[in-house]
């Protein structure tokens, strides 16, 4: 059965009956239909009549301007809406990413608004795997972080994904880590309003979150810290730790947080910091069995180009460079002249013998 514009108007009695609205009659929603034949134009159903709170949230959200019926875009077919605890529901936790992906995936509607395709990143993330592979209901899905009806742009200070609110948002599940983070230098800086300091998503990303102890993330991790700590990154790169680490297949070499801690990063002056002088033997000893007081005087961020900070290293490097330059300069000149002279003699000799020149 179709209406004038060709849309099906048949309703599956069983499906509707088992849906959350099954106890209602048709006229509860289709209030403008009084009898038969129906009017030519039928007003859209106003879900807000019952769901006022949700409608209010939606009206304030980024989705308020949807051309389609705002509710059915996410909740699906109006005659088979189930409670979100029902696996048949489009907003059941395990179905949420799929539902959002209708727009927020490659070539989705969101692209028209200049938004990234986030679904592929999410579904291959640690949260996505927990959800799709393990069916973990507590795994973070889209609405765990973004909310559901009142979804706000991250630029909005009220949004749970606004930078200032990210620690609290992640902390809804990761309470212990968030507590550590809030006690560290980064957490304190963000709490004090320094928005240059990183929150969870600056290091872990928002959607493509990986298992941080896995090789892939370890291999890619130091540039993340290095994107802010550029000076420390460049001196780290001069050391054996970095040289080993850069080549792959040797993921256990020390990365930033192996020494500094990850969430509860503290200044070296703090006695609780793993890089505080009193803790160095234990910290270095995690990898270097037998590390002693002299061993931990090693400087993991030494700068051989800085005479004031590392004079011994500076002069050793200078000496080695001078040695290298002088030996090579002398011998390059010596050997080049020799080559020319030998070739000259050879040509002369062969010419005298009446042979060819080569």
């Amino acid at each position: 059965m179709q209406n004038a514009s060709g849309h099906s108007i048949s309703v599956n009695e069983h499906k509707f009956g088992s849906s959350i609205h099954g106890v209602l009659g048709c006229k509860n929603c289709h209030t403008d239909i009084k009898g038969y034949p129906h009017p030519d134009k039928i007003a859209p159903v106003k879900c807000a009549a019952c769901h006022a709170d949700q409608a209010q949230g939606l009206a304030a959200s980024v989705h308020s301007d949807g051309a389609e019926h705002p509710c059915t875009s996410c909740h699906g077919d109006a005659h088979s809406i189930y409670p979100k605890s029902d696996p048949r529901s489009t907003v059941y936790p395990l179905n949420v990413p799929k539902t959002c992906s209708a727009c927020h995936s490659t070539d989705g509607m969101a692209k028209k608004h200049g938004l990234d395709s986030v679904y592929p990143s999410y579904i291959d993330s640690i949260h996505g795997f927990a959800l799709s592979k393990e069916g973990l209901l507590v795994a973070a899905n889209c609405q765990s972080c973004h909310g559901s009806h009142k979804i706000l742009s991250r630029k909005n200070p009220e949004s749970p994904t606004n930078k200032a609110n990210v620690p609290a948002t992640c902390g809804k599940c990761h309470a212990g880590i968030t507590e550590n983070y809030l006690g560290g230098v980064h957490g304190k800086a963000v709490a004090a309003g320094n928005m240059k300091a990183p929150v969870c998503s600056d290091c872990h990303t928002a959607h493509a979150i990986e298992q941080p102890t896995a090789d892939a993330f370890r291999m890619r991790s130091t540039p993340i810290c290095g994107s802010c700590h550029t000076d420390k990154f460049s001196t780290y790169r001069d050391t054996f730790h970095s040289q080993l680490g850069a080549l792959g297949g040797y993921v256990e070499t020390a990365r930033c947080w192996d020494c500094h801690g990850a969430h509860d990063v503290l200044p070296a002056s703090d006695p609780r910091s793993p890089v505080n002088e009193a803790n160095l033997i234990a910290t270095c000893g995690k990898c270097h069995a037998g590390a002693n007081a002299s061993f931990v005087k090693y400087q993991p961020h030494a700068n051989a180009r800085n005479r004031k900070l590392n004079p011994a290293l500076y002069y050793i490097r200078l000496f080695m460079n001078l040695l290298l330059a002088s030996v090579l300069t002398f011998f390059v000149i010596h050997t080049a002249l020799w080559l020319i002279r030998s070739r000259y003699d050879q040509i002369k000799r062969k010419a005298a013998e009446g042979g060819k020149n080569a």
């Binding site: 040289q243 005087k297 590392n310 050793i316 080695m320 290298l324 090579l328 011998f331």
Partner: protein, 285 residues
């Protein structure tokens, strides 16, 4: 120079003959030296220039840093053993057996006044200001090669083992020395690589008199003509001491020459490729 006269007189009975310059032990030593050196250079350079693309590609291809480090240490141990065998040999021959010519004299590797004169004389000849000097068993650039490698082994070896066994070395080295050993190891290694793959290659193999390769280190023998031309004083000394006959060797067989060529050209090619990669990475740093 009076020696020149001796050289100019061809000894008819030795015409077309080959003379031994290196013993099999010395040739094997060189083979161990260059193969482990190529191994160390090939695995050390990706570390030194770990940010360059080729280093990462190479490391990825051979199984990452774990494989590189294993091979580097393996070559290091072989080279260390070779070095110790050589030192033992020197001590045995020079000190215990009191063999002459090890520490002093015309067959010694130790530099002397003649080497200084040869260096200046040779350079005067380069620019056409004098005659070509007459060289003995080991010319000054060969002695420099030897001592550069000798010093390099001690410096690179010590700094390498200090990194390998850092907690142990920390018992008697100050903390900053652990930073210094990496700088020393990498700079000295770089010097060795640049020197061997450019200067040694040209001085010994690629210059017109030897081009494309001096086979004597592989076959152990050189023709009388070449011997007299390259090392007239050594030839004259052997003639004078009546020891020339003792040194007559066999003309290398065709397979021996071909085998040497394959090995030698492979080594030189690897060296030249590494040289290009090193220079490109060094100047991009």
């Amino acid at each position: 120079m009076p020696d020149l006269q001796v050289v100019a007189t061809p000894s008819v009975e030795n015409e077309g003959k080959y003379f031994r310059r290196f013993t099999p032990a010395q040739r094997y030593m060189h083979a161990v030296l260059f193969s482990t050196f190529l191994g160390l250079a090939g695995t050390g350079l990706p570390l030194r220039f770990s940010q360059s693309l080729w280093a990462r590609k190479f490391a990825g291809g051979v199984g990452g840093f774990g494989a590189i480090l294993f091979f580097h240490k393996f070559c290091a141990i072989i080279l260390t053993l070779a070095f110790l065998v050589h030192v033992k040999d020197i001590v045995q021959r020079g000190i215990l057996n009191r063999e002459k010519g090890i520490f002093w004299g015309s067959t010694s590797m130790v530099a002397n006044w003649k080497d200084a004169k040869d260096l200046f004389g040779h350079m005067r000849w380069f620019v056409g200001l004098g005659p070509r000097p007459q060289f003995g068993r080991y010319a000054y650039w060969e002695k420099f090669d030897y001592w550069a490698v000798f010093w390099g082994m001690i410096v690179i070896g010590f700094s390498g083992y200090a990194m390998w066994f850092a907690p142990f070395f920390a018992h008697f080295l100050p903390g900053w020395a652990l930073n210094a050993v990496l700088v020393i190891h990498s700079e000295e290694g770089l010097l060795a690589i640049l020197f061997i793959f450019s200067i040694h290659f040209v001085n010994t193999h690629l210059r017109p008199d030897s081009f494309p390769m001096d086979m004597v280190i592989f076959t152990g023998v050189e023709s009388e003509e070449e011997f007299k031309e390259k090392r007239p004083l050594e030839y004259a000394r052997l003639v004078e001491e009546g020891k020339l006959e003792e040194r007559i060797g066999e003309k290398p067989a065709a397979w021996q020459l071909n085998f040497s060529r394959v090995i030698g050209f492979t080594a030189i090619s690897i060296g030249l490729i590494l040289l290009v990669l090193t220079l490109s990475a060094y100047f991009r740093e």
